[in-house]
Amino acid sequence: MSRIRAALSVLVLTVAALLVVAPIAWAVSTSLRTPASSFDLPPHWIPTHPVWSNYRDAFEKVPLATFIGNSVVVTGLIVAGQLITSTMSGYAFAMVRFRGQKALFAIILATMMVPLQTTIIPVFLLIRYFGLTDSRLSLVLPAVAGAFGTFLMRQYFLQMPRELGEAARVDGASHWQVFSRIYARMAFAPMATLAVLTYAAYWNEFFRPLIFLQTSSKFTLPLGLVSLRGYFGTGSVSIVLAGVVIALIPSVLIFAAAQRYFVEGIVAGSFR
């Protein structure tokens, strides 16, 4: 009886896993076929004779390299900015005493749940006021600091022993030295968590680029890919799919290297 149950549970899991992976597998295998056989039915799930021309065309016929460059710059700056600002503010709210701390942190907690989509109009008008419309900076500037990173880093700093800093203070270290030489160096794990979560959110972002950018030479990957589909029609499915697969590669590599931090970040967010 229990053996049947076990077999059944493995079967259900296997079918579910195959269904979940199938769309991505189809995208990969279709990107490795000639454009003429993109819509072959039954679909060839395993690319026995891979054709790499779509990947070459994605760079030669379509400005994929530009999209990748834009995404790398935008996402890289946001991740770097988030790491600096959130580590500092998270530390301030966890380890430093200042007036109004509780009230300010309450505001941060309250804004953490506010969806981006409901504030997009004033943010767009701000960007326009700063003269940043249709610039990559319009994506970076509002995202280099924020509530979630502060919250996440604070959670981790709260768990660190206060005695270390107090001892260093007695020995004459400044507040900045206590932060930069002691606590910031103990914060590798939460910083890695913040980095991967920030990366995943902005590498894949579509909504803000769609609204803020107009010129295709500034498009980030997801927006660029969607615009290609409209521009080329269905004729070059396989080239667009090659782009989709390329966009996914860095994410998969980062996940493979830092799976632990992804999971930790998602779970940490749930204990608020």
């Binding site: 076990a6 899991l13 579910a16 896993a17 979940v20 992976v21 769309p23 991505i24 189809w26 279709t30 039954p42 600002t85 500092m88 503010s89 530390y91 301030a92 709210f93 430093v96 005493r97 200042f98 749940m113 506010v114 969806p115 989509q117 409901t118 504030t119 997009i120 109009i121 004033p122 943010v123 008008l125 701000l126 509002p142 280099v144 600091a145 924020g146 509530a147 990173g149 502060t150 507040h175 900045w176 932060f179 894949n204 579509f206 909504f207 769609l210 609204i211 990957l221 997801p222 890919l225 799919l241 782009g243 989709v244 966009a247 996914l248 994410s251 799976q259 999971v263 998602i266 749930s270």
Partner: protein, 316 residues
Amino acid sequence: MSTVTPVRAPHTSGARATPGTSRRRAARREAAFGYAMASLSLIAVFVFTAGPIVASFVLALFKWDVISSPEFVGLRNFRTLAHDQTVTKSLAVTLGLAVAIVALQVGLGLGLALLVAQRRSKIARTIFRTAFFLPLLASAASISIVMSYLFDQHFGVINYYLTMLHLPAVPWLSSTGGATATIVLVAVWQQLGFTFILFVAALGAVPPDILEAARVDGATPTRLFWRIKLPLISPTVLFASVVGLINAMQLFDQPYVMTKGGPGDATYTTVLVVYQTAFQNLQFGYASAISVLLFLILLLITAVQFTVSRKWVFYS
């Protein structure tokens, strides 16, 4: 004057400073450091989140196309949108989609997490976990491109397999029911990994001795789930459904790419309406009124979920 006088003055304090003032000076210096460290994030939160929320409420009282100067219209935008079929229909559509997405996401995520937790082999657990997590790594927009090919009525892989099983081909993207189902399936497919990971973590935190004790007392697996595991992970169920609903109520990327809100207005979600009203029709005041309404609805949903949850969520 400080009322607390330390027994021993710190040896670093200057000769003329009394212990009280030097301590106060130290506290002031610490506070200045704290403000400086928190300043960048606080500025960002005020300028790009807190400020815009307030600004949305103000903008909603104006008629403004960004080119000519704004005209104050009071609550007229809200009166208009109460009778605007496009807005009310989109709210109903969005709520329907969101409820379906969240129910499936939570149900399937929990079910799969329970099944994976039973696997003894670590390799099997890792394989399944990676598989369910994979879609989370992709962008919703570019995955929607892939999905619109797979769900194509005539050339799509899905209808090919359905006809092979002697089932009727479904007009996935060109019928009301089909488009709704497609959006739900694609959103659930992508977000499943999120609830799954949350439940795996929550189930892993259930103390094994409680389960063992119940097993010794002869509890069946079904009873074990309903009486022990589910109550213990109920905070995670609440979190997953609150966050899931907030996200799903803002559905945009999938309908934008796959259906453009169609056919008709079958998948015309509220954020699509806001996008079109503001950035294509240039009605910034009216669009703000719609997004304020959406914001208030999200607030209400969250409040209701937390209130109702007092009855069933168990906090140890």
